[in-house]
């Protein structure tokens, strides 16, 4: 007993050190897990009020630019509605069943917390479960893909940004339809890497890259970016550097997209795996 007490007295700092590092390591491994983002959510909950307040004051400074973007987006949307109406008229289709046709459900939200300077970046938006947001929904900005929802609380959600080493997206070259896997290499917030495009495919700088919709998360045809540069990687594939359309440094208004037919697609696919 005496020896034990001596031992404790002699090494008490080491024991405290190991104990505290143990707690930190526990937080690190459980809290940063992609699939277990509940702790992340609760930890963020504590500072969210302050973040929302900081964000409120800073958002005024960029209102002008945001207005311009919204106006541009409105014009584009009006144009596409016009196209749709014409298409349906020409088919003499007059069924007013909006749910049947609608596959994707859009919810607009604002980004209240964002980072680009880490290797695993997340952002927080001001909509949550009570607004119908669920885990694994897609998040896009006005210009292109932004991320995937990984955790929801009642009124807020945390999304994994494209700028995260764990983020993966199936994307294709719009002009010829060849698809590959898109991920971020952790270097520059403006660029991502598209891999698995075979070398016989003709790639041009400036080609448009869009999402494929194979994952049932992102709708088909959502803009990702343009080809900035490419090089041969190994014997068979290209490594293509993509200029991302979304400027993550200015990420502000986003759309969350839920795929209403996702379960149906996944269940069917499961039968053949």
């Amino acid at each position: 007993m005496r020896n034990l007490l001596n031992f404790l007295a002699r090494y008490n700092n080491l024991i405290i050190f190991l104990f505290l590092e143990g707690i930190a390591f526990y937080l690190l491994t459980t809290g940063n897990n992609y699939h277990n983002s509940r702790l992340l959510n609760s930890v963020r909950g504590m500072t969210r009020g302050i973040e929302a307040r900081i964000y409120n004051t800073t958002s005024y400074l960029s209102l002008h630019e945001i207005n311009e973007n919204l106006a541009a987006e409105n014009v584009a949307l009006k144009n596409s509605i016009g196209k749709l109406v014409r298409k349906e008229n020409s088919l003499f289709l007059n069924v007013n069943d909006s749910v049947n046709k609608q596959q994707y459900l859009h919810t607009s939200a604002e980004v209240i917390e964002n980072s680009i300077n880490r290797q695993k970046n997340f952002f927080t938006i001001n909509k949550g479960e009570s607004q119908g947001i669920k885990v694994d929904m897609a998040v896009i900005s006005a210009s292109g893909v932004a991320g995937v929802i990984v955790g929801c609380s009642k009124n807020y959600s945390v999304a994994m940004s494209v700028l995260n080493l764990d983020f993966k997206l199936s994307a294709r070259i719009k002009s010829n339809g060849y698809y590959g896997s898109l991920n971020w290499d952790g270097r520059d917030y403006r660029y991502a890497i598209l891999s698995e495009i075979p070398q016989h495919v003709i790639v041009n700088v400036g080609d448009t890259i869009e999402a494929t919709g194979y994952s049932a998360i992102f709708p088909e045809g959502v803009m990702v970016g343009t080809v900035r540069d490419y090089e041969k990687f190994g014997g068979d594939f290209y490594k293509i550097s993509i200029l991302l359309m979304t400027d993550f440094k200015k990420l502000h208004f986003v759309d969350v997209i839920g795929n209403m037919k996702k379960t149906e697609q996944l269940e069917l696919e499961k039968l053949f795996k």
Partner: protein, 168 residues
Amino acid sequence: MINSILRFGLIFILLILLQVLLFNNIQFSGYVNPYVYILFILLLPIEIPAWLLLLLSFATGLIIDFFSGSPGMHTFATVFAGFVRPYVLRIISPSDGYESGPDPSMLVYGFRWFLSYTLLIVLVHHTTLFYLEVFRFTDFFRTLLRVLLSTLFSMTFILLIEFYRRGK
């Protein structure tokens, strides 16, 4: 005693606010993130008991983690920095030893001593932090580059703050 608790409390709050509101938003091309809050651990009195130093490091890291949404990362790195601080102090102790009383500042022990003291601990802290962040050893040298560049920037800001304190 009460006086110094108040003083360090104030330094603590100031540094955390600086880190959260200013330095967390500095992003040079994704490589450089200055982490200046570690200065709090550096400024604590030399004769502070090791257990208190560890607990204060833990609290500092935890608060920074809360604000940057990265549970455990800063806590681990800061506790580690707090753990090595006494050893660093022993290694670089001046020839006539430390005086009892004054805090480890540039004013008392000179620029060269302060530079090596901060550089060693900031380097330990940043190395732990950045390697924990990527949590893998692929791209080892790129992470090393991030560590070195960020250390450079953190050191610049820490020295600026310290010069400002000396000037007062």
